[in-house]
Structure formats: structure tokens, C-alpha cells
Amino acid sequence: MVDSAAATTVRARLAAKARANPSVALGGVCLLLVLVTGFIEPEYLSLNGARSSLLQAAPLGILAGAQTILMLTGGIDLSVTMIATGSAYVAASQSSHGAAVAILMGVAVGLVVGAANGIGVAVFRVNPLIMTLAMSGIMLGTFTAWTQTILRGSTQVAPFIKELAAGSFLGNRLPYSVVLWAVISLILIWLLRRTGWGRLLYAVGDNETAVRLAGVRTWQVRIAAYIAAGILGSIAGILLAGRTGAVDLQLANAFLLPSVAAAVIGGTSIFGGVGGYTGTILGALILSVLTSMLTFLNVGQDIQQLVYGTIVLALAWGYAGLANRE
């Protein structure tokens, strides 16, 4: 009865549709943004435009994947961009040993830092915000010191990494990094939907006590989640390094808020238990198109940050409204 009465307002009808099929609604928003951007800059509506947006979105989408996994458990990783930067640094310094070693060493950074975050949060019960924020500070300090000492030397990445991050095939149409993102996306979606671990991520975020009483060692689930997030951070960092060709300690800084924003826009709740990676992909695409649009409008980094912040706030409010109506 309440439903039919409320449905008379357009807003409620839209809300009901959005609730029933969030991906379609998000896709609609994305398409709308593309069209608006095309209106501002007709050049954008071309293969080239699509290519550059996807190139932008790939590292962001991978970082946002890390946040999605953790947010599903009710956690978050504020050190993910430092992990990305640190991995890129290590990969660059090891580039003289060949791309394979460089990439493996880079990913090892994510593995170790992710495990440390996971142990802090799951075993020592440190609040995830505090744990990962502190880890971010520790890493920044460590890497600042190391750039003067053991990591001194090359800040250039191996040619293979450059090619992977910035190169394309099929006549310069399909970037390798986008293909890599697609593969990672498929793996993430499979993990979240079709595996016991994915199931447990949702379950732990929904009610950890119930999962623990079911006989699950929930700390294992959480540590695995932080390790996975760390590895995703590393991959994103190496891609970023390959795209710019050289690394510095500010490499991935600007991606922290957008990585959380993409997951939130995609409908993953920061309180855990609700969401998924499909939405996050669309969230990353929306933010990427938005960046293009703001670039065409010639606004600076400051305005972009402002827009990101506003969008995250508005969406968090909107989702809270949807959840309340349930």
C-alpha cells in the first residue's frame, strides 16, 4: 500500500528502478555523462575518446577493486595508493634485472604490506582506517628514506612495463592495460560470486559474529582480503609507472579518494555486506569520463577534487535513503 502511494511520485519510481537494477541505472548515468562530454568536445565521441577514457579508468578500476573487496568486509584501505607507489618504485629499481623480476618484486610489496594490514586489522583488531592510514605514513617515510639509499638508481621502468601500460594492439585501438583490467575484472567477479571466499567476504561484512559462530576463522578471510587488495594495489601502481615511464613518491596519491568513490558510486556499502565489482567498474568509468569532461572544461585539480568529494557525499546520502526505504 505504501509502495503504490509512494510510486506516484517520479522520484520514488526512479528510486525503485535504481534499487531493482543498479547497474542499468549506473550505465545510464555513464552514458549521459559521455553524451554531455561529447557535446562539450565533439572530438570525444570517437574511438580515440573511448580509448583514452578506458586508459584512464584501468588503474583506477583496479585500485577501486581493492577497495571493493575490503569495503564488502566492512574494511577500507587508505594505504592502497602508497602500496601502488611503493610497488612502482621497487619495480623501477629492479627494472635492470628484467621486467619479470621487476613486476614480481613490485607485487611482493603489495603482498607484504597487505598481509601486515590484514594481521593488524584481523588479529590485533586495529580499526581499518587507523591501521591503513598509519601504514600509509610508515610506507611514505620508509620509501622517502630508501630513495636516498637502497632504491637509489633507476626511476625508469623496464620497456616491457611501459608497453604493457601504455601500448595497444589491433592497430593502436585496444590498449594492453585495458585488456589486463578486463581479465582482472573477470577474476574478481568470479571470486565474489562463485567462490566460498567471495561468499564469506559478504558474510563477514554483514555479521561477523554469525560467521564466526558458523565455524569460520574470520581472521583468515580478512587477511586474505587485505592481501588481495595489496596485490591489486601493486598491479595498479606498476601500470601507472609504466604509463608515466618514471616513478616519484606522488605517483598514485591523487587516486585515493577516487578509488573509494568509484566503489561507493558503484553501490558498495562502506558498512560491508552489500555491493559488487560490476558496479565499481561503472563507478570507475563514470569518474574517468567526468575527469575528461572537467579537463575539456579546463578546470584544475582543485575543482576536480571538489567535484569528487561532492559526488561521493551525494551518493552516500542517496544510498542511505534507498536503504532506509527497505
Partner: protein, 490 residues
Amino acid sequence: MNRPSPLLTISGVAKAYGSVVALAAVDMTVRRHEIHALLGANGAGKSTLVRILAGVHPADRGTLEVEGKTANFRTPVEAMRGGMATVFQDPALIRDLTIAQNLRLSRTDPATFEQWLEEFDLGSLDRDRMVRDLPLDILRLVDLARALALNPKILLLDEITAALTADQAEKLFELLDRLKTEGCSVVLITHRLAEVMRICDTATILRDGCNVAELEVGGITQQELVHAMLGSPVDLAPDTQAGTTAPTTAGAETVFAVEELASGEAVRQVSFAVRRGEVLGLVALEGQGQERVFDILCGERRPSAGRILVDGSPCRFLSPADAVRQGVVLIPGDRLQALLPSLPVYQNLVVTLITRIRQWLGLPADERARAANAIDSLSIDTRAAARVRRLSGGNQQKVAIGRWLVSGFRTLLCFDPTRGIDIQTKGEIYALLRKLAADGAAVLLYTSELAEIPLVCDRVLVMHNGLIVDEQAAAQATEASLLTAAHGLV
């Protein structure tokens, strides 16, 4: 009879929390110069009534009158202004502040407070001590002194003697007697009937959210009080022949046992054994250590002494995962602790199938079928199956049980599984527990509904003050015999 005039009149007060009716309709009169006992079994509605009188929750219906004037308190401040002062079961003091800071928060007059504290020989208590560093009995007395400093017309005491030593209680009784002559009336909630006999003038008895009797305490015995608390037997329509056809399990092997289990002050010594095919009942008044026993048995807490034996070999449960691996599983008292509220019914049911790391990279091929089996055998109503949050309480409880049907188990620990559940579902749960036992499980059932014992159990243990004080054959156990033992009157 020249009885003093009414000070507090409660008429037709009702309160429901969601779909759970805590108070159906309560009438009660507290007169001047009176110590009035409020008695009733667990879940009878005593604490709800106290919360309404203290203004913590407003009543849904009914009226309160203080000295003939309507006083339907909406906030604790209104209740205080209306002359009520309350000492709750848990001290209403902020743990991370000092006593002095707590007093300042509640705007207690320090001089009066000091005076009352002297009464309990606590004049030397350092007011800059943190509340969390003080023992419970001191906190109770501090809370009491604070309540008395309000100079109330009516003092509400919820289980205050539970944490006091004998001589502290003695001082309290003398004080209450004096207050009474000075014109302040007292409402006392207690499970200790000896106290009621000793200091109370009148007793109101609650059962299932209604007042069922008001007794003059002078001239009746404790046994008569217990009988008054029982009333007519609850009509539970046992569709099962459970009690009568319960198989004799005397010869079956012991599946699960504990020996001399202890945990701090709460559990002093508990030993028992559950046999294959047996439903062992456990009965206790509130706060006798039963929660702690279940916490230990399911692996949530470690005992300070004693052993847990599964199939005769000692086990150490460091976490619920250890207990589950030994086939010892829990249906918790708060069913929300067993549910994933935002997830669908089937995912709730099959979470017990992915507890080990080697089960993480994939899903059991037969999980849908297993979930469907559990849904069928429990007849779970799946119309709102997309989110367990939307199910009714009874259906949620079935899901909490069903997740163990999916994975299998050997020992089932049930903590008050029928609390707040409709009568038909209760019957289904009894039948299910009997069936699980018949199929070879060992079941330990704690229940606050004594009428369940002969319906479901084979034997019943009674716990009082951290000890097992009695064991009865369930078929012969009556509410009277169980309540008598639960009050420690064996």
C-alpha cells in the same frame, strides 16, 4: 482495613517491541509506606515495567499516576521530576569517568550524596576513582546513593541485592525500612524469595506481561509465592508425543561432557554429560551463569578451570571454529548472532559449508539442493527469502537452526531457542529437537520456559548461582519443582 493511600497507580500499561509483546496489560498500585515486591519468571516483563516507570521507554498504552496526578513519563528526566529514582540492573554510570564526574553529569547534590554514602560506610571512597576500576557491589551502592540523593517519592530497585554481600544487603534492608516510615515507597525486583518474605509488605506477580496476583506478604510461605508465580499451566498444544515416547537413552554412549567447569565468579562448578539421542534440559533464573556456560561450550570463551570432553577425549576450544570441527554447534540466544541479515536464506544456510580455506576456491556443487532440503524439512516460509532481515522471528530462528542441518553436527547447544516465537513454531521446534535426538544427536537445551521441559527433554539440570543444584527426570519435572530448585530451595 485501613490501608494507606495509593502513591503510584499503574493501569492498563502495555508495551511491545516490534512484534514482541513485553507487557500486555499491567495494573499495579504502590501505596505510601510500602515496600512492594515485583516478582515473575524470566521474560515476564519486570524490567520492561521498570523502564517505563523510569521514563526510559514510554508505554504504548495505559496510564501512570503519581499521587493521583497523571504522570506518563516520556523521558528519564520527567520521571525524576515526578519523584521516581531508579537503580537499574546494570549500574547507570559511565565507566570511563570518575565517580565525581558521573555525579556532575547527573547533577547530583554532592552533600546529600555524601550523606547517603556514609550510611553504607563508604564515606572514605575516593571520588576520583574511575568507575571501571570499582567492583560491582560498590557501584551498586554508589548508584543507590545517587538515586537516594534525588529524594524520591518512589525508589525502584532492579535486582539490587544480586551483587551485594550479605552485610551490605542487611544495611540496605534497614535503610529501606527507615525510608518506608519516612514516607518513601520502594518497588523491589528480586529473585530471592527470602528477601521478599523478610522486608516486603506486598508482592505483585507478573506472568507473560500481565499482573496475575497481588499478595500481602505477611502470612504466606515461600512455597505459596512460587505457586502464585506459576498459575495455570501454559497451553502449548504439544503436537508431538515427545515427552511420552522419549526413548530411554540410559545405555547410549556419552557424546559430550564437561567436568568441573569454572569461570570466575559466574560459573563455580558445573559437570554434566549428554548422551547420544538425549535432550538434556537446563533451567536457571536470569544471571545464574548459564550464559557463561554456553559461551564456554561453544568456544567463545575459555574456562578458568575444568575440561570439555567430546566422545570421552578432552578438547580445548580456542574459538567457535574448534568447537564446530568437533561437531559441537550453537544456536545462540540472540538469533541475530546467527543470521546474515542482508543475505538471502540459502546463503545463510550454506555458510557452514565453506568454513575451511580449502573450500574457498569454489562452492559445493550440491549447496542449492542441501539448502532446499533444510528449507523443506523446517518448512521455512521463503516468500521473503531474498533478505533474512525481512523474515518473521520464527522463520529467522528456523534459518539459525537450518544452517546446522545443512552441515551436520553431533552436539547441539540451544540457548532459549523459542524465546519470542509464536506458539506454532515453538511446537515445530520441539518436534525438530526430538527428531534430531532420535537421529543420534546430543542436545543441550537451556530454556526460560519451564513448560517446555517435560515436552522436549529427557533429563533436566537446574543451575543456581554458578552451580548445578538439582537434576530431575523431565517427565516428572513440574514448574513448581523446577522453580523451587531454581531459587536454590532444594
